[in-house]
Symmetry: C2
Subunit: 193 residues, 2 copies
């Protein structure tokens, strides 16, 4: 298909705000695909922090990053993304160009270990706080697994109410597929640094 998938669209949008030397966060490392994408996009002088509570995910990601030769740009944490604010270097506050969330469960992993709204929402709030002006947050939402629809609804409810003077929230979704994942992207207003 010629129209990019919502996941590819998320990458395009994030690429549009990252440049060499940027700071970025992968809030849900999972299999490390987004982590690798971010590590490449920030270049040799950029830095990425990644969060995941599963060792299996971090191991897979580490391997992927090493194979691509970009592991030194990335710092992986075996922590939930709600610990982002206490874990990131304090001088990153207000300077993060992109934060990516890919909710749900680890593909090929334990499907009962899923992201949970009670930790996702604080993590989103922290992300918005730590974003640089001009930076963006992307969230991929899946509704096909148990609890997915409820999580997507809660996330959507919060992000669509953000103060329009400070943020712009955009939603992209495929309309003619059942349970298609969808993308929410939030940009922080203000002069790009």
């Amino acid at each position: 298909m010629s129209l990019p998938s919502t996941l590819t669209l998320a990458h395009h949008l994030v690429e549009g705000v990252l440049h060499s030397g940027s700071l970025a966060v992968d809030a849900t490392v999972g299999n490390g695909k987004d982590t690798l994408f971010l590590a490449r996009a920030v270049g040799v002088s950029g830095q990425v922090h990644g969060f995941d509570i599963q060792q299996e995910a971090l191991d897979r990601a580490e391997e992927r990053l090493r194979a691509a030769g970009v592991a030194e740009r990335v710092r992986l944490h075996r922590k939930g993304h709600q610990q982002m604010a206490e874990t990131l270097p304090p001088d990153w506050r207000g300077k993060v160009r992109a934060v990516m969330f890919n909710l749900g469960y680890l593909p090929g992993g334990n499907p009962t270990v899923i992201t949970r709204t009670d930790t996702t929402l604080p993590a989103l709030e922290q992300s918005l706080e730590w974003l640089a002006p001009g930076g963006i947050l992307t969230v991929m939402l899946y509704t096909g697994h148990p609890g997915g629809k409820e999580e997507a609804d809660r996330v959507l409810e919060v992000l669509k109410k953000l103060d329009a003077r400070r943020f712009r929230t955009v939603c992209c979704q495929t309309l003619n597929r059942r349970q298609a994942p969808f993308l929410i992207a939030v940009s922080k207003s203000g002069k790009t640094v």
Copy 2:
């Protein structure tokens, strides 16, 4: 803001399917901005047909295209877009890479001359028929003018029901602005020609 507007996003998506020599259609010429965008994207060997029922719109577009030196790639028709199928060269059927609709009224023109659902829907149907496999249709919808919300609802209703084996329909909208325009993009499946 760092996140592209939905109109800019429409341009990005269309750019992704056009190449030098492509055939494209601007179904609502208006002030000619999209016509110019298409004319540039198809290159010197490409061709664009544009439709508008208002002479004022065609005059503005013609001027814009001439100033940019690309008028010879474009054929403007003072016709409604529902006459697309009977107007386009017959050998364009199934070969059009992109069709763009920007509904509502001509900015700065007569606000009572608006696109109407009873002509918009047949024009959309014809567009999908004339698209090449791998080609895309984009529709910008506005809900701020009288009749806009009803038109948007009808268009959405039709496009979200398209056969998922033949088409993919994606909707992108800003969630935290009232009456923000939104974008629907439809890609036609099949091998890209």
